[in-house]
């Protein structure tokens, strides 16, 4: 019996069997922190297509990036042989792996011999699996002996991590599973646009609103997410902390706060109350541009709800006051008694696929596996024992991501740099300077799947396996550790990062060995994390498969994992959450006569991060072919710009020319440029590298810009 209907969602049309060795494989999307479940299905020709999977994160949904992810596996631009340059400025030529690895090892050890171990830097990526992040951290500390390793997750979630850590004693993106969102009576999203950046997440917000829940969105743009909100607070870029404190002022004034919760489960409220007392709505309106009436209404929506969540995104976080902004939102959640309770809490909607795991296991300059502190003698000893090295041989804290890149400037401390899975020439602030610095290094080696803008500057490029070509684990935004599975072997000539790290470590005479296989690597990571804050020791590949992922901390094989944190107490020594008295301060740069508009940056649905992958997927490239500037039609009119005209944007860092896209949904004083493109289209040529003093997060979200019509 043949049904006259297409196959149900998620299963490809029946066809002749795939080539031997290929079978459908359940894995996860290669992109964002939601890590949607998907099945990679091979056809007779060995080409894969994507089918959605009913995993607890995406429940059968996928966005355009996920559906088209398999195109990465057959991209004609794939690197399949190491590339080397015989001299600076010379052309690339293909080389054998032995030649390339020998060259890398000798150049890195040469730099170390001439300038000291810290002259060799390592820059990792938030897309690396836990196993690779772990190996890379170990490689830097043991094989290279350098303190200077950091990763692009610093550009993503470091402000939230610092604020969450200091308030709760533990930093996990969300302290609850995303499914809990549907059960919150009120949710405030500050500076995140999940309807575009992680669309399948929206089903939980839809469910939340369908149950009568309220959604408040803070964004200078009426984004796709803001359009769904009960209330949209269209705040001035850089004013998030003042807005949060203004909401707290109203909550205190109108007696919406939870005095019992504050007394029993927190410390430090009085200092915060004193600051909130000085944020009356008129004043906050003038700072934020959010009308007083809306401030009052939003405070009541949150305060009068029985359960509420406050979620921050890159908007408030990617600022030179990013940590304080997040603290201000945490203060609000705590004062309302909306934390450490079911369907309540502050969390961050993180961006990168494994930004969470990447920082837990040793890619961050100040951390060792298991979220241990590299400066803490006990923590150093625990990890050194697993690695079989003398604790004294481990370097101390190194430079944070942006400082590490700054140190590549002529005369800087870093002379040779190894970059894995990161396209910093597109993704770092003040990108023009970054590019010049990298080009001038003594030695640059980049490992990537494509010749990214950054790889193009390298002396050696190592072609590496990609997501569906190797096994490993990722930790998604909920703290759920999941399995990424190999569907197909890498193309001939391509090696995995783990194999490259092991081969380089051997050439560098490393005192500790490096696991090449994913599961042995994970088992070592488990041991190294045992007893740490991010304890993975009870998690195994088998458990992840059997349980649809396991939430950390999970300190023993019989431990169920921890989907919901803090219900019994916060992870501070006294079990109480801490308020932090923070006060709004001006952004690193504010508009003036010469640069009269705010510039903010962000993402679009059809592209991901620096675009290294998504710009090479034809359907996505066709959907969003290049950068543009979004501006209000009234603003454009004054500048003589019409839809599609080329606009020249200038900041104190540089100039780009991009097409104008006009929409009345953005503030009159604000321009928006998505940052997925390189070269003359790079938003980060414009952005300001002012750093948060605590997280060292650059100020991607706020700077001052001038706009002119580009002569045709």
């Amino acid at each position: 019996m043949t049904l006259p209907s297409p196959a149900p969602a998620g299963t490809p049309p029946a066809a002749s069997p795939p080539p031997a060795g290929l079978a459908p494989v359940d894995t996860h999307c290669p992109y964002c922190a939601l890590q949607c479940g998907m099945t990679l299905v091979p056809d007779a020709a060995g080409l894969f297509s994507v089918a959605a999977r009913d995993f607890p994160t995406n429940r059968g949904g996928l966005c355009r990036k996920g559906w088209t992810a398999a195109a990465l596996l057959r991209s004609p631009e794939r690197l399949t042989a190491p590339l080397v340059r015989d001299r600076k400025g010379g052309a690339f030529r293909e080389a054998s792996w032995d030649e390339a690895l020998d060259l890398v090892a000798s150049r890195l050890s040469g730099a170390r011999a001439r300038h000291g171990a810290d002259a060799v830097g390592v820059f990792g990526g938030g897309g690396l699996t836990n196993e690779k992040a772990y190996l890379l951290g170990k490689f830097a500390r043991v094989a290279l002996g350098t303190a200077n390793i950091d990763y692009n997750g610093r550009y993503c979630m470091s402000s939230a991590a610092a604020a969450g850590g200091r308030a709760y004693g533990l930093d996990r993106g969300l302290p609850f599973p995303i499914a809990d969102i549907a059960g919150a009576e009120a949710v405030l999203i500050a500076g995140s646009n999940p309807a575009e950046t992680m669309p399948p997440l929206m089903q939980y917000f839809d469910e939340q609103r369908a149950r009568g829940g309220r959604l408040i969105v803070v964004d200078p743009r009426r984004s796709a997410t803001a359009r769904l909100a009960t209330q949209h607070l269209q705040a001035t870029p850089g004013s998030d902390g003042a807005l949060a404190t203004g909401l707290l002022h109203v909550a205190i004034r109108d007696r919406l706060i939870d005095a019992d919760f504050i007394a029993e489960r927190t410390t430090g409220f009085e200092a915060v109350r004193r600051i909130a007392a000085q944020h009356w709505p008129d004043r906050v309106e003038r700072i934020t541009g959010v009308p007083e009436r809306q401030i009052v209404e939003a405070a009541h929506m949150l305060g009068e709800a029985a359960t509420a969540m406050v979620l921050t995104g890159r908007g408030p976080e990617q600022q030179s006051q990013g940590v304080d902004n997040v603290s201000a939102f945490i203060n609000l959640a705590l004062a309302l008694g909306k934390a450490g309770r079911p369907f309540c809490g502050w969390g961050t909607l993180t961006g990168q696929g494994n930004g969470q795991g990447g920082r837990e296991h040793g890619q961050k300059a100040d951390q060792l596996p298991g979220y241990r502190k590299i400066a803490d003698p006990a923590h150093r000893a625990a990890v050194a024992e697993v690695w079989g090295v003398d604790p004294a041989s481990l370097p101390g804290p190194g430079l944070s991501a942006n400082e590490l890149l700054d140190a590549t400037a002529p005369g800087g401390a870093v002379k040779a740099l190894m970059i894995l899975a990161s396209n910093v020439v597109v993704s770092a602030p003040a990108a023009g300077r970054v590019k010049a610095n990298l080009a001038g290094l003594e030695f640059l080696v980049v490992s990537d799947i494509f010749l990214s803008e950054t790889a193009a500057l390298a002396d050696v490029v190592l072609p590496t396996a990609q997501w569906a070509e190797e096994d490993g684990t990722m930790t998604n935004l909920e703290g759920r550790v999941i399995r990424r599975r190999r569907a197909v072997p890498p193309p001939d000539g391509v090696r995995t990062d783990a194999a490259v790290i092991a081969a380089l470590a051997a050439r560098l005479g490393s005192a500790s060995s490096f696991a090449e296989g994913a599961e042995p690597g994970f088992d070592e990571l488990r041991r190294a994390s045992r007893g740490g804050i991010a304890d993975y020791s009870g998690i195994s590949y088998a458990r992840i498969e059997a349980e649809d992922g396991v939430f950390w901390p999970c300190p023993a094989p019989e431990h169920p994992g921890t989907p919901r944190l803090f219900l019994d107490g916060f992870a501070t020594p006294d079990g109480r959450a801490r308020f932090h008295a923070v006060e709004h301060r001006p952004s690193g740069e504010e508009p003036d006569r010469d640069f009269p508009y705010w510039l903010t940056t962000g993402r679009v649905l059809a592209q991901y991060q620096s675009g290294t992958q998504t710009r090479r997927v034809p359907e996505l490239a066709a959907a969003e072919p290049g950068a543009y500037v979004e501006m209000h039609p009234q603003t454009a009119r004054g500048l003589g710009l019409a839809e599609g005209d080329l606009a020249r944007l200038t900041t104190r860092r540089g100039t780009i020319a991009v097409k104008a896209r006009l929409t009345p949904t953005i503030r009159l004083d604000t321009l928006f440029v998505p940052f997925h493109w390189g070269d003359g289209q790079s938003a980060n040529i414009l952005t300001n590298a002012a750093l948060d003093p605590t997280s060292r997060m650059p100020e991607f979200k706020v700077c001052a810009v001038r706009v002119e019509r580009e002569a045709a």
Binding site: A195, P199, P200, Q203, E270, R274, R286, G638
Partner: protein, 572 residues
């Protein structure tokens, strides 16, 4: 390193804020800090005093720095004590109670006091205000007025400025017949032009407040207690409570006695230092900077910040350049915003104006070189948030001046499915257009589930699902309508409610979906459907999304019989 000593005269909004800013900049390590406060409380938020007067707030509600704060931060506070002398040669201050404190750095933040013009009969012989006459400045003033108002019938507020109107409103709320007498020709003359002031007057009179403009008070009548007021025009008004809100005067005598340059207030440079003595600073309403004395909170706090940056050495170049004045207030439910100038300076200033007196709406903007230099918004002030920022930041204004006064958001245009252009994206997550859904239906997909599976529409965030469903139905209908000759009508509808409903398929056969009431049917009905399907040799039974069962591949001739059999059963 031994600490230096910072003595702060004044514990109000400027002085306490300055100390907070000093502490936030590590000043606790640099200085021992001593403060004197005239009032016997911690520092409270003066702009919320009307709440005390109305009785809606208590001291606790408006306190910023509680007494405990001073102890915790190590700041010595002499509260309820006033500095009466500064000895600059000895670098010491002496209080009324005889406390002497030496200083290395002195900050004068004595603020201002209510100005009570010398009306005849306003004061008693010992210089106190006559019983029933109050200033409106301090917490004690407010509690005093509120107490006295309990026994009062008719209250007059002298002064129709910000504070006067606030007091008059509160007195009305306390049950008094409330009058305002104002010297100038219109209310709020610093914030409004004559048109705005006139409109405000009419509006608040509508709420029962009595307003007398252009009236100069000359005397307070009554022997032991107030009984009325007399005016220059010879008229009088009887009343039993008078609140004087006729402006403030800087408390700068102490600077004068110490030999500092005092004009309208203590003259300071851009670092907020006295121009005579580098170790003496002044901030707030007692300070005069570039000829100006500020009375609003925002400038005070800007000054306090500059002081803290400078005195702690955080930024030795920290400089105050003056502040732009803007304010918002609510008078008897009328919302007002005012910024900068109220009248154009010359003919080059562009004035944009809108008035709708009936509704009490008035908007006036003054634009110079494409920048906002003045504005009044009354009644409907939804644009205030944007305009105040544009004024503060000197930002370029949009050319469309109308957009400055109103939100011009075009009303959402309802587009019917038919009007929707084919290239319009319906599903943003997966980039599916209306046209793609049409093509998908034309290719044989006839229900939402199969359209979703084939196009991925609504398989991302899912928010477009209802629209995808509507479009699917729309195209399915179109496909059916496109072949009217093959549409099927009941041949025997006599016992049926309505017509036989079936759809034609690409191969010329038909499909029929028995009604199962959202997926619910009795076992007997389900059995009946199966029996009918077997009896008529239905080639395929498809379980659909939307809780339906579809009998697929029916020949046209059997349709009516199948329909009857299904629905006769259902009716039984």
């Amino acid at each position: 390193m031994t600490k230096r000593k910072l003595v702060v005269v004044g514990n109000g909004m400027a002085g306490a804020r300055a100390v907070e800013n000093v502490l936030a900049r590590g000043g606790g390590e640099l200085f021992d800090i001593v403060m004197f406060g005239d009032e016997p409380y911690g520092n409270y938020n003066r702009i919320m005093l009307s709440g005390i007067l109305e009785g809606s707030k208590t001291l606790d509600d408006i306190l910023i720095n509680t007494p405990a704060w001073y102890a915790e931060t190590g700041v010595t506070l002499h509260s309820g004590d006033r500095v009466v002398e500064i000895d600059r040669a000895a670098k010491a201050v002496r209080s009324r109670r005889g406390v002497v404190e030496n200083y290395d750095v002195l900050l004068i933040a004595t603020g201002s006091k209510a100005f009570v013009p010398p009306f005849a009969g306003a004061f008693t012989a010992d210089g106190a205000l006559k019983t029933g006459v109050f200033a409106y400045r301090t917490l004690d003033d407010c509690t005093g007025i509120a107490d006295y108002a309990k026994g009062a019938r008719k209250a007059v507020t002298i002064g129709g400025g910000l504070l006067g109107l606030e007091a008059a409103r509160a007195l009305g709320g306390l049950g008094c017949e409330s009058h305002v007498v104002h010297l100038a020709g219109h209310l709020l003359e610093l914030q409004l032009d004559a048109t705005g002031g006139g409109m405000l007057r009419r509006t608040i009179e509508g709420f029962g407040l009595h307003v007398h403009t252009g009236k100069a008070t000359t005397a307070v009548l009554g022997e032991d207690r107030v009984a009325g007021l007399a005016f220059k025009d010879g008229t009088t008004i009887d009343c039993d409570l008078v609140v004087v809100a006729a402006g403030v005067r800087p408390n700068s005598e102490i600077g004068l006695r110490a030999g500092l340059t005092v004009e309208r207030a203590i003259v300071v440079n851009d670092h907020m230092q006295s121009i005579d003595d580098r170790s003496v600073y002044a901030v707030g309403e007692c300070a005069q900077h570039r000829g100006k004395v500020y009375g609003l909170v925002a400038p005070l706090w800007d000054q306090a910040k500059v002081f803290a940056e400078h005195v702690t050495g955080r930024d030795a170049q920290a400089a105050y350049h003056g502040s732009k004045l803007a304010t918002k207030l609510k008078v008897m439910g009328v919302e007002l915003a005012s910024m900068g100038i109220t009248e154009p300076y010359d003919e080059h200033d562009e004035v944009i104006q809108f008035a709708e007196p009936k509704r009490g709406t008035y908007k006036k903007l003054i634009v110079r070189d494409g920048r906002l230099v003045g504005g009044i918004l009354m009644g409907e002030i939804s644009k205030a948030a944007y305009l105040m920022q544009a004024f503060d930041r000197d930002s370029p204004l949009p050319e469309e001046r109308l957009a400055l006064l109103f939100d011009l958001g075009a009303p959402p245009v309802a587009v019917t499915l038919e009007e929707m252009p084919a290239e319009m994206q319906v599903c943003n997550c997966n980039g599916v257009t209306k046209g793609a859904i049409g093509a998908c239906v034309a290719a044989g997909n006839r229900d939402l589930g199969s359209v979703m599976a084939a196009t991925r529409a609504s398989m991302g965030c899912g928010s477009c699902k209802s629209q995808v469903a509507a479009l699917t139905d729309y195209f399915v209908e179109q496909v059916s309508e496109a072949v009217p000759d093959r549409a099927v009508v009941a041949e025997d509808a006599s016992r049926l409610d309505g017509h036989v409903q079936a759809r034609i398929l690409d191969d010329g056969t038909f499909s029929m979906m028995p009604d199962t009431e959202d997926g619910h049917c009795t076992p007997a009905q389900l059995l009946r459907i199966a029996e009918v399907a077997v009896k008529y040799k239905v080639p395929s039974v498809k379980l659909m999304g939307h809780d339906r069962i579809d009998l697929v591949g029916l020949p046209k001739d059997d349709l009516a019989r199948i329909w009857n059999e299904l629905y006769l059963t259902a009716a039984e």
